[in-house]
């Protein structure tokens, strides 16, 4: 919960009467969930203009590149970073040859996020996201209101590849569905889509006055597009909605082909899988075979451990340059995900993904608990690292290094999630034990 809530004027600088009506409609809907958060688009006139300009560049700029080629815009971007961004300016090992530039990693961002903010960036517009990825590695990301709003033209591009578009205006255009024990839920409006409505909801019945309200609410609003992760979409499918969206946009975790087929069949619409990172925004979207690079100004490479480029078709680490966040320009950023590149079309495609999957744990009573829920439960616990593993018989083993009172908090959180009957051991690693960043945070043999 935020310490100091913002005013609606701060949340929605461009709020129109239509927008106000839409917000009221969402929040006071007879079947509305118990929204527990408030958050707005935070776009002012300059911000909206920026997003529209981005959309224009996106519309004409998606040209792709050939393997081994560094387009002009890429070199320009690298120069910009070197001149204007402290982190890159301070690096001893820079180069005019893009392919000789050093890598950037998640650890760099975690250690000194402020050094990625360009010198000219207006600090009054600065916003901060605390992230909780499935890999359990928490991070503070300094961002800017234009960053999440640039996702909207990117979604449009992905949809138009499937012959679809967003109408916007006086209707609800996007609803994000979650299925978690606890999460922030909110109602908002999108200036980019002419004050169309947006809501983030949690399908967990505890968030609703009545379980049936979920379907009633969604059917009544008839959102154009649903966003969410595969787990939430599976739950959405079980609701038995009467209305049909134009498309589902799935992200966060890998959408397996079998799941995709089932969802498309159930909802009767395309299901687009978007591969995106908190740090960079959307990277690629599913299209026929493979995932096509989505933004016009994001460069994607596949590199081996020592940073050498791998030939098309060979799988290695996905490394990106660019990004939607003006306060986090990325140069050769190691994503920690693995795939191969296919240069068969003008715009390269990622294939052969070994992406991210959430781990599903089982409680003693057979319920499923997602690793996302564990991350959320441990969100505020000051742990330097941890891993959680479930053995074949259900026993769980948690490894970390912390003091007694922190360990007590971990126990309380885990028993709360898995039930007090859950067999659980907590291992304290000795202080000379080096934590290899490569350890899987979550794993299960069950």
């Amino acid at each position: 919960m935020a310490d100091e809530p913002l005013t609606d004027r701060e949340r929605f600088p461009l709020l129109t009467d239509a927008g106000r009506e839409m917000l009221d409609r969402l929040k006071q809907h007879p079947h509305a969930p118990r929204f527990n958060y408030s958050c707005g688009e935070r776009l002012d006139a300059a911000g909206l203009a920026d997003v529209r300009a981005y959309a224009e560049r996106l519309a004409v700029g998606r040209a792709g590149w050939r393997f081994g080629e560094a387009p002009g815009w890429l070199k320009e971007f690298a120069r910009y970073c070197r001149n204007e961004v402290p982190f890159y300016r301070d690096r001893a090992d820079w180069s005019d040859d893009f392919f000789a530039l050093p890598m950037t990693g998640r650890g760099d961002i975690r250690r000194e996020p402020w050094s990625f903010v360009p010198d000219q960036s207006d600090l009054s517009q600065l916003i901060v996201y605390r992230t909780s990825g499935t890999s359990g590695n928490l991070l503070n990301i300094i961002s800017h209101p234009t960053a999440p709003n640039r996702y909207l033209p990117l979604f449009e591009t992905a949809l138009s590849a499937h012959g679809l578009s967003i109408e916007g205006g006086p209707r609800v255009s996007i609803i994000q569905v979650c299925s978690q024990k606890r999460t922030f839920t909110l109602a908002s409006v999108m200036s980019y889509f002419d004050s169309a409505g947006f809501a983030k909801i949690n399908l967990n019945p505890a968030d609703w006055n009545h379980p049936d309200d979920r379907a009633r609410f969604l059917d009544d609003l008839g959102a154009e597009v649903y966003t969410g992760d595969p787990f939430a979409f599976a739950e959405l499918a079980r609701l038995g909605l009467k209305t049909q969206p134009k498309a589902l946009i799935s992200s966060a975790t890998t959408l397996l082909p079998g799941q995709r087929a089932e969802l498309e069949s159930h909802f009767g619409c395309p299901v687009i899988d978007v591969y995106a990172l908190n740090e960079s925004g959307p990277v690629a979207f599913s299209r026929d075979a493979g995932h096509e690079v989505l933004p016009h100004d994001l460069y994607v490479e596949i590199l081996d451990e020592s940073g050498r480029a791998l030939e098309p078709g060979r799988r290695g680490e996905i490394v990106v340059t660019g990004g939607v966040n003006p306060n986090l320009p990325l140069v050769r950023y190691r994503t920690g995900d693995f795939a191969a590149l296919d240069f068969g079309c003008a715009i390269p495609r990622l294939v052969d993904f070994a992406g991210r999957r959430p781990v599903h744990f089982r409680t003693a009573s057979g319920q499923v608990v997602s690793s996302i829920d564990v991350t959320v439960a441990l969100f505020d616990v000051p742990l330097p690292f941890f891993s959680l593993h479930q053995e074949a018989g259900g026993k769980m083993r948690f490894r970390t290094r912390c003091d007694a009172s922190t360990q007590a908090r971990v126990e309380a959180a885990l028993y709360d999630l898995f039930g007090t009957e859950q067999p659980l051991t907590i291992d304290q690693l000795p202080s000379d034990h080096l934590w290899q960043g490569k350890w899987l945070q979550y794993s299960s043999d069950a």
Binding site: G40, W114, Y151
Partner: protein, 195 residues
Amino acid sequence: MTGDGPELESLTHRLAECPPEFLLEPRHGSSGSIDVPAIVADHFRRLSGGELAGEALECVEAIGAFAADRQQLVAIVVWLLHDAWFLDRPQLGQSVRRLLLDEKLARLSELVQPATIVDDPDRREELARVCLNSLGLRPRGETVAQATDRLTTLDSIERDRVVRKTRAAEARARKIREEMAKKAAQEAAARYSPE
């Protein structure tokens, strides 16, 4: 700086005792109180034992044309050079003239106030060392390496360049961190899909 010079402490001590008259504003146009060229002329006379001529005269004239700040620093240097150690060595005359005309003093005068030069221990030491260096000397008991290292470390010009950069970078980093701390507890902007 090959020659053996005096004890550093005697010089820094002498600077600390610089009489207030030497810190007054040099005569320039219609303002100011001290006549720096005259002070320099007096010093040269003391060294040579006779009237000014040739290079000494040219030196005094050149100094008359310096900016006020630079003249002020020259006055302080003259005070320093009036130490017995230097007065006993009139053969340093030519080096002294070179010192008083040294560009380094000009740049130093732009960076540091005269009061600071005599009040701040680091700046006293720097001025003493700059003077010795210009005279081709090093402090008694120090090796060339030691003397060079100290000189570089204290060099206001070098320091100014580096610290200015540091300051800009650190000030910016601090502002961003403060903003981060403020905003971390606030709502950010709505996101439209999960990551």
